[in-house]
Symmetry: C2
Subunit: 157 residues, 2 copies
DNA sequence: GTTATATGGTGCGATATCGCACTAAATAAC
DNA sequence: GTTATTTAGTGCGATATCGCACCATATAAC
C-alpha cells in the first residue's frame, strides 16, 4: 500500500487526499449519530460540541468566537445557544467591554451533562480504538490538529 | 507526548479517545463547509457524497444501501436522492429483482460534476496534507477505515 | 395456500442549518 | 464632532435532516 518511491515533500495524490477526507467525514457522521443517541431529548451534537468547547478552551467566549471555532454561520450559533439557554446549560450575559457582544458561560448543569455524556460514551469510543497502537493514536490527533489549524487559518479564501 | 509505559493492549484514556473524535468532527465540519462552497447552487456535501460513493463503490446500489453506507435515516437519503434526480445527476430505476427496491445510477453529468469538484478541491486538500509524511497518511486512512467498519458493525447497539 | 413478520421506500411534521436582510454598537475617515 | 465602514447579533424564509407513521413487497411460519 505504501509507495516508497515518493518523497515526503511531494504532494500526495489527489485520490489519496480525497480518500482521507472521505473517511473523516464518514467517521464523523457515525460518531455524531451515536452521540446524538446518547444525549437527552432535544439536544444535538451541536449543543454538546459547545459545552465541550467551553470546558476545553475556557469559559466566557462571545457567540461569534464560538461560531468561528466551529466554522458555522452566526445564525446557526445563535440558534444552538438558544437551545442551550432553554435547557439552562449555559448562561448568556452582555459583554461589559463591547456593547454589541455577549458572553457565554457554562452552568453547573451544563458541566454535569458534559461529564455524564463523556462517561457514557467514553468506554465505547475507547473500545473502537483498542486495535490502534497508542503512538498511532497520538500521531493521528497531532496530524488532525495540524489540518484543522490550516483549515482554520485560510477560512476566508 | 507518547507514554511508553502503556501497553498497546490497554484501553486508551477516555480523554484521548474523546479528543480524537472531537478533532475528527471539527475537521469534517470545516471540510464540509469548503466542499459546499465549491458545489453549484442547490447542492450540498450530502449530494456530492452520494456521487462520490457511486464512483468509488460502484453503480446501481439501492437507496437503502446508500443510507446504510452514510449511516443516515432512510428518509434523509430519499430526500438527498430527490435533489440529485432533480439536477439530473443520477437516475433511479425500479429493481427488477425486488419489487420494493429501486436502484441508483450516476449520469454522465453526475460523473462530470464529481470529476470537476475533485479537480477544483483536490489541490487545496492535498496542500493541507503536505506536512504529513506519506506513511502517516496511509496509516491514518487505515485506522479511520478500521474505526468506521467497527462503528458500522454495531450500529444497532 | 394463509397469515405473520421483516424490509424498502415515501409522506409528513418538527427541528437544524443556512443565506439574506436588518439593527445596534464600535471603529475609521474626514 | 459627523459620516462611513466594520462587526456582533438576530429575525425570517428556504432547505436539510430526522423520527414516526404508513404502504407495498418480500420472506417466514404454519
Amino acid at each position: 500500500m505504501h509507495n516508497p518511491s515518493k518523497k515526503s515533500s511531494e504532494p500526495h495524490s489527489l485520490s489519496l487526499s480525497f480518500e482521507l477526507f472521505n473517511e473523516i467525514g464518514i467517521v464523523a457522521q457515525l460518531a455524531r449519530s451515536k452521540l446524538t443517541d446518547q444525549l437527552p431529548e432535544g439536544l444535538m451534537s451541536s449543543h454538546f460540541g459547545v459545552l465541550n468547547h467551553l470546558i476545553r478552551i475556557g469559559d466566557g467566549p462571545t457567540p461569534m468566537k464560538l461560531a468561528s471555532a466551529f466554522q458555522v454561520p452566526k445564525t446557526t450559533m445563535t440558534h444552538t445557544l438558544k437551545g442551550l439557554v432553554a435547557n439552562q446549560l449555559v448562561d448568556i450575559k452582555p459583554c461589559s467591554e463591547d456593547g454589541r457582544s455577549k458572553r457565554v458561560w457554562i452552568t453547573d448543569a451544563g458541566h454535569q451533562l458534559r461529564q455524564q455524556t463523556i462517561a457514557n460514551m467514553g468506554p465505547e469510543l475507547a473500545g473502537l480504538l483498542n486495535n490502534i497502537p497508542d503512538q498511532q493514536l497520538q500521531t493521528m490527533i497531532k496530524n488532525l490538529t495540524t489540518i484543522r489549524q490550516q483549515l482554520d487559518a485560510n477560512r476566508g479564501s
